[in-house]
Each structure stands twice: as structure tokens, then as C-alpha cells.
Amino acid sequence: MNIGEITQTIEGKVLCCEDRLDTEVVTCCASDMMSDVLAFYSASNGVLITGLVNPQIVRTAIMVDAVCIIIARDKKVDDTIVNLAKDNGIVVILSPYTMFETSGRLYEAGLRKSKG
């Protein structure tokens, strides 16, 4: 599945790096605990789904070589987050759904978890 298809599946809104929607994604991790995410470090080319909105979600994504962050439940995302993601080529998608439903839709569409 690529990031464009992911965006459609969750009816999301892309906040940056629109030029990278054709990037293939192989794995996904949903968490509000960043050290949990960091423990799945083999998840390169992965997606991070989170309900958090602070710059450390982007730093965490950078460290694990994630290519996309999905922020659940339409939150206000400030410029520091978007700019940091943009600088690092990470697509940020705002999802109108909860973390549960965002994850469920992607799972149903065939996306599977990180091998951790």
C-alpha cells in the first residue's frame, strides 16, 4: 500500500510532503508511547499512528526511519511539527477517525504490523 492509498482509506488530509504519496509502506505501528515505538526499530518505511501532537512524534519517526505519521482525530497541528516533518521528508496525515478506527480501516485494507 502506498501513502496515497492510506490517505484515501482513512479519508485523511495531507499536511506536508504531498510529493511523496507514492512511497510504499510496509508496516505500521499505533501508539501514544514513543519509547514503545522506538522499541519497534526494525520498522523502516513504516507508518506511525498516534494521538499525540508534539514535535517528538516527528523525532521518533525520524529515528525509526518511518515515512509517514498519521495523527488521529483531527487535532490542531502546529507549524513546528509540520516544518520538522517537511524538512525530513515525512508525510503527515490528519485522520478524522479515532486511533482505533484509523488502525482498523488500514488493517482491513491490508496493512500489517511491524515485525518489531
Binding site: 508511547m33 519509547s35 521518533t60 529515528m63
Partner: protein, 141 residues
């Protein structure tokens, strides 16, 4: 690369938003000199966890990084409150992080175990009231 690269970073303890910049810089430096992405990821995660720890538990500190042909050595030094019981701190799930830190996505008590897991050598020296030194070595495969 014939000689080692020596880098020193000041890690600001009053700015949660900027925590991780040192790790980010080290990551791009390693990428530039052609280290494998698997090794870079181990370095990035271990150093980032340590950097975050200095910011949320110790009021900031210094990161001293030496990159050699076959390995990277990282020293994270702070003058924070220190760790009373290192063995306990190393237990997965042990955390003294307050609720406001948890709300930001940290405080699972997984940082130190992750750091140990991703490094080839890992040592903590800490004195209560004086500070903490974390030494990490990662060998390049």
C-alpha cells in the same frame, strides 16, 4: 575517513521541543559517511532515548560523540539529580516520569532497556545529587 570525528552537543534541559536535535545531527552525519541504515537506526534510537532522558529527568546536559571507522562512542553527561538505584531504573516499565511527561508520550520506563538492547557496550555511572554519565558504544557491522 582516516581520523575520528569528535562532536560535542549542548542538550537544552528547558526545551522539550528541541530534544533530539543532537541525535538527529549524529544520524545525518553517519548517513553522510556511509554507515549502514541498520547501524544508524541503533545509534539514533539509543542516543535519542538518552537525550530525552537528560531533558526530562536531569535538566539537560552534554552529549559527546566520537565516530571511528568501526564504531561510535557516545557519552551523555548531566548534572541532574542522579539515579539512586540503577538496577531498578534498568527494569522495563520502571519510571519516575510525572504525568505531564507521560502526556507527551514518554515515561513508559522503556528508554534505558532500549538503549541497552541497541548498543554493544552500555554503562551508567550515577551519583545522587551530582549527576549521571551514560556511556554507549555501537559497533558498525
Amino acid at each position: 575517513m582516516s581520523e575520528s570525528i569528535h562532536l560535542v552537543f549542548n542538550v537544552d534541559g528547558n526545551n522539550f521541543a528541541s530534544a533530539g536535535t543532537a541525535s538527529e545531527e549524529v544520524k545525518s552525519k553517519l548517513k553522510m559517511i556511509g554507515i549502514s541504515s541498520a547501524d544508524i537506526r541503533r545509534v539514533a534510537i539509543a542516543m535519542y532515548e538518552g537525550e530525552i532522558n537528560m531533558v526530562i529527568h536531569a535538566g539537560g546536559g552534554e552529549a559527546i560523540v566520537d565516530i571511528f571507522l568501526d564504531r561510535i562512542e557516545i557519552l551523555l553527561a548531566d548534572h541532574g539529580k542522579g539515579i539512586e538505584d540503577i538496577e531498578q531504573a534498568m527494569q522495563p516499565g520502571w519510571s519516575t516520569a510525572p504525568d505531564d511527561i507521560r502526556a507527551l508520550g514518554f515515561g513508559a520506563g522503556m528508554g534505558l532497556p532500549n538503549m541497552k538492547k541497541y548498543t554493544d557496550e552500555f554503562r551508567i555511572d550515577s551519583t545522587v545529587g551530582v549527576g549521571t554519565n551514560v556511556y554507549m558504544t555501537i559497533k558498525f557491522n
